[in-house]
């Protein structure tokens, strides 16, 4: 039964990571790029209106970053639970 318990806590940590990362995913694209676009467009950032920048540039950089963070987190988790050396 040890392995069942092991899997349970491994899985729960994984779900926690996924939820947090998806919150960032939503925030930087849908929230900053669309919902708050008009408000953020009042600010300027490196020659862009900020909302426009998130919609056409920033969100994409964040997406790439999020996946690599997840890769990192999961590799460590796999090691911790002995799935990976």
């Amino acid at each position: 039964m040890k392995s069942k318990n092991n899997l349970k806590s491994y899985w729960e940590t994984n779900i926690k990571y996924v939820i947090v990362l998806l919150l960032f995913w939503f925030t930087f694209s849908f929230l900053f790029g669309i919902i708050l676009k008009d408000f953020l467009n009042e600010f300027s950032f490196a020659g862009f209106k900020l909302g426009f920048w998130f919609a056409q540039q920033g969100s994409i950089y964040v997406f790439v970053l999020l996946i690599f963070i997840y890769v990192r987190l999961m590799n460590n988790l796999d090691k911790k639970y002995g799935y990976k050396k």
Binding site: V18, I34, G47, Q56, Y61, F63, V64, Y70, N75, Y83
Partner: protein, 557 residues
């Protein structure tokens, strides 16, 4: 050397590379044919996924569409990249661990039902055929514009090339040609973009040049200038939305979820060695895709500014050479309505200029006066983008037929060798059908591409996600959910795109959401129906719950 000579040389070289790879990577077993033996490295798979994903539409049309849509173009930029986050976090590692060959395979086994498998096969075929027709057409168009051959001849040449490496090498051949095609297409996209960025803003990095000041001495910011030019001609400000934000939200969401649910993308993650490689290669794929996707909006803004400055309100007799050349292809049309000899471009009835969106990428090097070899490079890049996507789709089609229909349903006793022959024959027929649609494009192709994403969002995505994350989801729930999702999506599409069921206009859209974004609603319906039906039907067998546990556990390394 002339543009044509350069094009023959560059396209010739790239095609020989593709054929060479095909001969090197012939396969002998179905495992090699469907998933390249499951031995592809993370980087190779990342590059192949990027090429697989970036189609003729991404390469040729997207920058042009953004150029005309301004801020609204963000639906494609976010929609077609954000889906990879969902793929990496929710789907790819688990499907790799599951370790079979196709998406219907997963649906069929997880929901212990051949009916579920058949629903999935139907969706996979519908989505893939819709998509592949557009790719073959793209090949034909590139050939006809750059090499001045007939579009149909172009389609046939493209068919022969794909046939060669898809039938011979299956997934293995496709993977390694896609790696080569990624290199060609990204180089071809970036070179003109960098040249133009330097010309317009002095900054060699298009992503930064996009937000820089113009180098024409005015020291005005490019985007401010573009906003002004747009407003002067009666268009919306470039950086503001034209569609309602709720629609932008829905379209972006549908495209993201649809991307994560497209079978030809998912299947790429069956080919890597380990679960951890599936996650890593999703990251690499998105990184490589992001190079093009963050450059495209810059190209769009440069091209729009260039176009408005060089031809709007200029005398037709002083117009540069490239304008006349592209006029011959019908992609630019000028009609002097008020007979003043000037090109009047505006957002109202007095507009005298028609510009096809594709021209923004295809003619951009000429508009910016770049050397001939750069123009030829764009042709090779467009072909690489179209061929790589077509090949990936054809493999999904042939695997759906030979593996999911023949091996799993109709004739389970078939030997591995027999199945491999069946796979090759179905690949052959799939290429022929795709070619037919490329030569005789049905008028509804553009309309149904949105449907492809909507269908993937409404069918595969919820079924797979629940299959992994929700053990209680059972056969009845999943099938009912998929049917409800597809049904609603088809209904909405037929009503608003084809005028069935009384038709309707923009005012009649449900919640203000266009058919392009309706996949979001159909996906929600899928989830709701699945839950309701699950509660009234028999629970998931224990055996299946064990399979789910197994999928959730990475292998020991």
């Amino acid at each position: 050397m002339s543009i044509q000579t350069w094009t023959y040389i560059i396209v010739g070289i790239t095609f020989s590379v593709y054929i060479g790879i095909a001969i090197w990577s012939r396969v002998q077993s179905t495992k090699e044919f469907y998933v390249a033996g499951g031995g592809v490295g993370a980087w190779a798979n990342g590059m192949a996924t990027a090429a697989d994903w970036m189609s003729a539409a991404s390469f040729i049309s997207m920058a042009g569409i953004i150029s005309f849509a301004g801020y609204d173009g963000a639906v494609y930029l976010m929609g077609w990249t954000g889906g990879y986050v969902l793929l990496a976090l929710l789907l790819a590692p688990y499907l790799r661990k599951f370790g079979k060959f196709t998406v219907p395979d997963f649906i069929g086994e997880r929901y212990y039902s051949n009916n579920a498998r058949l629903v999935a096969v139907f969706c996979a075929l519908l989505v893939s055929f819709t998509y592949v027709a557009g790719q073959m057409r793209g090949v034909g168009i590139v050939f006809s514009r750059f090499l001045e051959v007939d579009i149909n001849t172009g389609v046939v040449i493209g068919m022969l090339i794909v046939l060669f490496y898809a039938v011979l090498g299956g997934m293995k051949g496709i993977t390694y040609t896609q790696v080569a095609q990624y290199c060609v297409l990204i180089f071809a996209f970036m070179v003109p973009a960098i040249f133009i960025s330097i010309q317009m803003t002095g900054n060699p990095i298009p992503q930064f040049g996009f937000g820089s000041q113009l180098s024409d001495g005015s020291s005005m910011y490019l985007l401010d200038k573009l906003d002004n030019l747009n407003v002067e001609l009666g268009f919306n400000e470039y950086t503001e939305n034209t569609k309602p934000l709720i629609d932008i939200f829905a379209i972006t969401f549908a495209l993201m979820v649809g991307t994560a649910g497209l079978p030809h993308v998912i299947v790429r993650f069956f080919t890597v060695k380990r679960v951890s490689d599936a996650r890593k290669s999703a990251g690499i794929a998105l990184l490589l895709i992001a190079i093009l996707y963050t450059t495209a909006p810059a190209v769009a803004a440069f091209a729009r500014t260039n176009l408005l400055e060089t031809i709007s309100n200029k005398s037709y007799s002083d117009i540069p050479q490239w304008f006349k050349k592209w006029e011959n292809t019908g992609l630019i049309k000028f009609e002097d309505l008020n007979n003043d000899g000037m090109i009047g471009y505006s957002n109202n009835d007095s507009n005298e200029l028609y510009v096809d969106r594709d021209i923004m990428v295809l003619a951009n090097p000429e508009i910016a006066n770049l050397p001939n070899w750069v123009v030829a490079l764009v042709a090779a890049g467009g072909l690489a983008a179209a061929l790589s996507t077509a090949a990936g789709l054809l493999l999904v089609i042939s695997a759906s037929v030979s593996h999911d229909l023949i091996k799993r349903v109709i004739y389970p006793e078939i030997t591995d060798k027999g199945e491999l022959i069946a796979a090759r024959i179905s690949a052959f027929f799939a290429v022929c059908i795709a070619g037919y649609f490329g030569i005789n494009p049905p008028g509804f192709v553009a309309a149904v591409v949105a449907l492809a994403f909507g269908l993937a969002a409404a069918s595969f995505f919820p079924a797979i996600v629940m299959g992994i994350f929700y053990k209680k989801m059972n056969r009845e729930g999943a099938i009912a959910g998929m049917l409800a999702g597809i049904g609603l999506m088809l209904f909405y599409m037929l009503k608003f795109k084809f005028d069935f069921f009384g038709g309707g206009d923009v005012e009649d859209y449900w919640f203000g959401i266009s058919p392009e974004g309706f996949g979001t609603v159909a996906m929600l319906l899928n989830f709701i129906v699945s839950f309701l039906v699950m509660n009234f039907t028999s629970p998931t067998p224990e055996k299946i719950k064990d399979i789910v546990d197994n999928i959730r556990t990475p292998e020991y390394e």
